[in-house]
């Protein structure tokens, strides 16, 4: 492995931005956003430089490492503050800094009227730094720092407008649910250290070749818990919808393109563990399949454009997790879908922000309609992202999603058929609800509230959207040309042998396209060719009712965890006061009452004291006499 001295700059630049902006306070209001954007862009520049360095080398020698200093060293527990840039992390580095910079640019305009814009950019830079640390750390513990760092940035950004109590609650919910995932990561690290004696990626990889399956399964399951928390996967998915409380650029960057995909990174990074732990791998697949269906179903019923997109994000990450659980065949496709998704989903979120910008922050799609005429650029960029996400060839999503569906079928046996059908079904539902979003927003007749004057967004906002739209169109083709991405990632994931094809690739593609057509058709009939209510109708099917309530995820969490937790808290408070402290107070009261009883012997008559003394002396002498006899 080659050492490099410039990796730290990737993180240091945005981190410096965050520190400067936060410490400078109001003084930086004028130039803070520019500095933050410039630093994010220069980090992207360093990333590009690193990529050229990598490309100039042989595939096996492309990984760079940098040891900064010894972080924690106690006994055999030695963790360096070390960075690792290999073929996998460079994909993330470029995605994070590239999309991140675009979103910085977008936010300059989007947040221009907010008095706290500087603080917003400070948080964005903090996020970029933490996310880069997450993907660059060379051990699980370093990753953990970035892992919670992005959680913190996400918390701060979801609660950016925390003067609204609901938003403050949403940010707290996200942090706490993420912490449950983080706990999984803690367990994974602890098991790794206790059984393998190391927590670095290279060390664990080496040790995993000889380690017991039980240990690896334990680590794998705990990593899955961590991934589920961060990536909003079943059963820790409930925070993502509420996280839409944050400003829209945040939803685009953190809750669509980058942070929520960290779980996919974690699982693919730990490929050596999952390859040797089939049970854990199976659980990964199950979680992915459940979530992709779950998210898609929720997406069909959401009227809030951001929540619909959030449900879709959840579902698309379900695809990635599913692919990551399919072993060596799927890792590269998971990453490919992650990258293409980063482009089209970020683009669509920015588009949603653009729509909200033109519609006085209205998020209810039932109050949109006919915006195609008023926002042509937004319509075009959003539309390209839409075509990409539903998987229309030759847009990016087609290549990546198709590959996942194909791999799912190829998993073999009943498992393959089940997974493949789930993925296909998901694709159909995706096509349905995304068409619904598209139709309700842009092409159906207008259902605006009064005093709406939709207008196209300014240049600084549509430029990033346009760049992302270009990515949504081209990346799929670029990544698959000559199996480019798969070969690029081979040194990390290892080569996988030829798989027995369950169905010919062309058949799977045909099925996928058919599913998409069915989904689109239903949506068109329901929404384009029939009237849409401006208010959400009440007389809906039981299914819609459940989907609107996110399949009861909040009710479930509340009744299983929150309420019992509150009861438990009250119980402990009561116990502490009445039992534990009560015992202490009882001792005190006993002493006091004993004192007041004994005090009654103090009559105030000097002669009775004298008599008592006399009696005492006589008794004492008698006692001594008796004892010494």
């Amino acid at each position: 492995m080659t050492t490099s001295t410039s990796l730290a700059y990737l993180i240091a630049l945005p981190l410096a931005g965050a520190v400067i902006l936060l410490l400078a306070g109001r003084k930086a209001d004028k130039w803070g956003h520019l500095l933050a954007t410039a630093l994010s862009a220069s980090s992207f520049g360093v990333g590009i430089y690193q990529l050229t360095q990598m490309l100039a080398r042989e595939p096996e020698e492309r990984a760079f490492s940098q040891k900064l200093f010894s972080w924690i060293s106690v006994g055999t527990f030695n963790v360096d503050a070390g960075l690792l840039l290999d073929q996998l992390s460079i994909c993330f580095v470029l995605l994070i800094t590239g999309v991140g910079t675009l979103i910085h640019i977008y936010s300059i305009s989007y947040m221009s009227h907010d008095p706290d814009r500087r603080r917003f950019f400070a948080y964005l830079n903090l996020f970029i730094a933490a996310m880069l640390l997450l993907v660059l750390g060379d051990s699980y513990l370093n990753l953990y720092v970035g892992w919670e760092g992005v959680g913190l940035a996400s918390y701060l950004l979801i609660g950016f407008w925390n003067q609204k109590p609901a938003y403050a609650t949403a940010s707290k919910k996200a942090f706490v649910m993420n912490r449950i995932g983080d706990m999984g990561l803690s367990f994974a690290i602890m098991i790794a250290f206790a059984t393998l004696g190391t927590v670095s990626f290279s060390g664990v990889k080496e040790a995993s070749e000889t380690a017991s399956t039980a240990a690896l399964t334990g680590i794998g399951i705990m990593l899955l818990v961590a991934a589920a928390g961060k990536s909003a996967q079943f059963p820790l998915q409930a925070w993502l919808g509420d996280a839409m409380a944050g400003p829209t650029p945040v939803s685009a960057l953190i809750h669509a393109a980058t942070m929520v995909t960290a779980g996919v990174y974690l699982i693919t990074r730990s490929n050596f563990i999952f390859d040797a732990a089939p049970t854990a791998q199976l659980l990964v697949v199950i979680v992915g399949a459940i979530t992709l269906t779950f998210g898609a179903l929720v997406g069909t019923a959401k009227d809030d454009i951001k929540k619909a997109l959030a449900a879709s994000t959840m579902s698309q990450i379900g695809y990635m997790i599913l692919a990551a659980g399919l072993g060596p065949a799927g890792y590269a496709f998971a990453i490919m879908h992650l990258l293409t998704h980063g482009f089209f989903k970020a683009g669509m979120f920015l588009g949603a922000g653009s729509v909200m910008h033109g519609m006085n922050d209205q998020v209810n799609m039932r109050r949109y309609g006919a915006l195609r005429k008023f926002m042509p650029i937004t319509f075009a960029t959003f539309g390209l992202g839409y075509l990409a996400i539903i998987g229309v060839p030759p847009f990016a999503g087609f290549y990546s999603k198709d590959a996942i569906i194909e791999t799912a079928f190829n998993a073999g046996g009943l498992k393959g058929i089940l997974l493949g059908s789930t993925a296909l079904l998901g694709a159909a539902i995706t096509a349905f609800y995304m068409t619904r979003v598209m139709v309700l927003t842009f092409t159906s007749p207008e259902r605006w509230e009064e005093d709406q004057h939709p207008h196209e967004s300014p240049f600084l906002m549509w430029l990033p959207m346009a760049v992302l739209a270009v990515g949504s169109v081209t990346t799929g083709y670029l990544f698959t040309r000559g199996d480019g991405l798969v070969h690029w990632l081979e040194p990390v994931f290892g080569e996988h042998g030829e798989h027995e094809e369950f169905l010919p690739a062309i058949v799977v593609s045909g099925m996928a396209i058919t599913a998409v057509i069915i989904g689109v058709a239903i949506a068109l009939i329901k929404y384009q060719f029939s009237d849409v209510d401006a208010e959400a109708p009440e007389n809906v099917t039981e299914f819609t009712r459940i989907a609107r309530r996110d399949l009861f995820q909040d009710s479930f969490n509340e009744s299983i965890f929150m309420r019992p937790g509150q009861v438990l808290t009250r119980f402990f408070v009561k116990v502490d006061d009445s039992v534990v402290d009560g015992t202490v107070r009882l001792v005190g009261r006993t002493a006091l009452s004993a004192g007041s009883e004994l005090r009654k012997t103090q009559t105030g008559f000097a002669r009775s004291y004298a008599a008592l003394i006399l009696i005492g002396a006589v008794v004492l002498i008698a006692a001594i006499w008796v004892v010494t006899q």
Binding site: V145, N162, Q163, R179, S186, A194
Partner: protein
């Protein structure tokens, strides 16, 4: 002159200096107190740099006969463990003086008495960690109660007299048990090579004790320390004392005095009674885990910000105790580092909470709201301190908490797993007050609260710096702690469990 004795002498000289300043010159008194504590802090840092970490025996040793007929000496010396705690104490003292600039006013007595008490307390804080004579340790251990009693009872708020008495009685009870054990040690030492209170000689003594004797003597020490630390179920004095005392006193109480408990567990319980420690380990680990979870739940349920912080400390002391009795190098070093880090993160929380309460005239969480927009610097200080308290990676507490968990997991996986649930509860007990007090709309009564002034910023900045720097670079501390904790475990006859790499397959 001996570095430790100098450090102990300086605050005494400062007290004498204060004594000659007229009581009405309050500013002069404060300046003198601040200058003294700063001087002590500087000499503490110098001592730190003169310390040889590789040497595991006591350094800066001085021994003067005190009561020769009982073999009692004024004997001081430090190893890595005590040096870290002394450094924490002397760094906290000037911060406490500066942060609590106004809290000495409005007490039962004058500001002069307040600062004299603080300085006397500082001498004892250094002495209690530096003492290598068990009797000297005991005397300071008990004498420390006096200034704290007057600081709580004379300058606190609310039901301060009752809280002070509760604190005093609780501590005296523990001290009495410890005294019994110390006398027991003395008697046994007399029967085995001559009366002594020297810790080095006493640590050989366990070879001559029957298991029952050792267990009883161990319990005497341990209960005293468990009250100090405080460990469930001996904790109920802490919330009362911490919420009634002035913020500065609470910082010294939680940050330094309580550490005497966990310090004592390592220095006396483990060193003097290794076999008894092993016997009681399962019970103590259980109590520690209960403390972690129980303290966290109480913190979640707390309605008063000061009580909340006190409850979080109960949870944190559970972690420290668990790390100590896990008997692994990671657990031990983690616990020691935890003591240092907890000192600063709790100090920050308490100082800022004190400022909030002083401005608002109330410490009920529900009375605050939307402070982030009114007093951003104060809100940020509270937030960072809170993040450190919930052990966010990148801040100092994470390193220590994770070391404790990892160190415990290798020997007691179940305890570590249950304790790890504490990190989710930690997120709740920090984020709930953050949401209620800092976020949300600005509620009536909070619109015009002033933000931190320059003095307050200067007071809190070093704490923040320590919290952040040690999160990324704890090596300077760990380098000093590691040899000391390895030495303790070596004496105990423990080695780290080896990883079960490639158990089957």
């Amino acid at each position: 002159m001996n570095a430790l004795s100098t450090m102990m002498l300086l605050p005494i000289l400062g007290t004498l200096l204060l004594a000659v300043i007229p009581s009405d010159q309050v500013l002069r008194i404060k300046q003198a107190a601040l200058a003294t504590t700063l001087l002590v802090a500087i000499s503490g840092v110098l001592t730190w740099f003169n310390f040889n970490a590789a040497d595991t025996s006591f350094q800066f040793v001085q021994s003067v006969a005190w009561i020769p007929s009982f073999g009692i000496n004024y004997a001081v010396g430090v190893d890595g463990l005590s040096l870290v705690l002394i450094l924490m104490s002397v760094l906290l003292a000037p911060i406490v003086v500066l942060a609590g600039w106004k809290e000495s006013e409005g007490g039962r007595w004058s500001a002069k008495v307040f600062y004299m008490l603080i300085l006397v307390l500082e001498t004892m804080m250094i002495g209690v960690f530096a003492a290598t004579d068990v009797f000297l340790f005991y005397v300071i251990f008990e004498a420390m109660l006096i200034p704290v009693y007057f600081l709580i009872g004379g300058y606190g708020t609310g039901d301060r007299a009752a809280a002070a008495v509760k604190f005093l009685l609780y501590s005296l009870f523990g001290g009495l048990l410890m005294l019994a054990s110390i006398i027991g040690l003395y008697v046994i030492s007399g029967a085995n090579g001559g009366h002594t209170f020297d810790i080095n000689k006493l640590s050989e003594l366990h070879n001559y004790m029957s298991p029952t004797t050792q267990n009883l003597l161990f319990l005497g020490f341990f209960i005293a320390f468990a009250i100090k630390a405080p460990l469930w179920p001996l904790h109920t004095w802490l919330p009362d004392a911490a919420s009634s005392a002035t913020p500065g006193t609470s910082v010294l109480l939680l940050g330094v005095l309580d550490k005497v408990g966990t310090f004592g567990m390592i220095r006396f319980c483990l060193t003097l009674f290794p076999d008894a420690s092993k016997t009681f380990t399962p019970i103590i680990i259980t109590l520690a885990v209960i403390s972690i979870i129980y303290g966290a739940f109480l913190a979640i349920g707390a309605t008063d910000i000061k009580r909340l912080i006190a409850y979080t400390s109960i949870s944190h002391f559970g972690f420290i105790t668990m790390g100590i009795f896990a008997m692994t190098t990671q657990g031990h070093s983690g616990a020691t580092l935890y003591m240092f880090n907890h000192g600063f993160s709790t100090a920050a929380l308490f100082i800022v909470a004190g400022w909030m309460a002083a401005r608002r005239g109330s410490s009920t969480i529900a009375d605050f709201g939307g402070l982030q927009r009114v007093t951003p610097v104060m809100a940020w200080s509270f937030f960072i301190a809170g993040m450190s308290s919930l052990a966010l990676p990148g801040l100092s507490s994470f390193v220590s908490e994770f070391l404790v968990l990892v160190g415990t997991f290798t020997r007691y996986p179940v305890a570590a797993v249950i304790a790890t649930f504490g990190i989710v509860l930690a997120a709740l007990y920090i984020l709930i007050p953050v949401q209620k007090a800092l976020h949300g709309p600005t509620t009536p009564g909070n619109e015009n609260l002033p933000d931190l002034n320059l003095r307050e910023k200067i007071a809190i900045a070093p704490v923040m710096a320590i919290i952040i720097v040690l999160g990324f670079y704890p090596s300077p501390l760990l380098n000093v702690i590691n040899p000391a904790s390895a030495h303790v475990l070596e004496v105990q006859g423990f080695t780290d469990p080896t990883p079960a790499e490639g158990a089957d397959k």
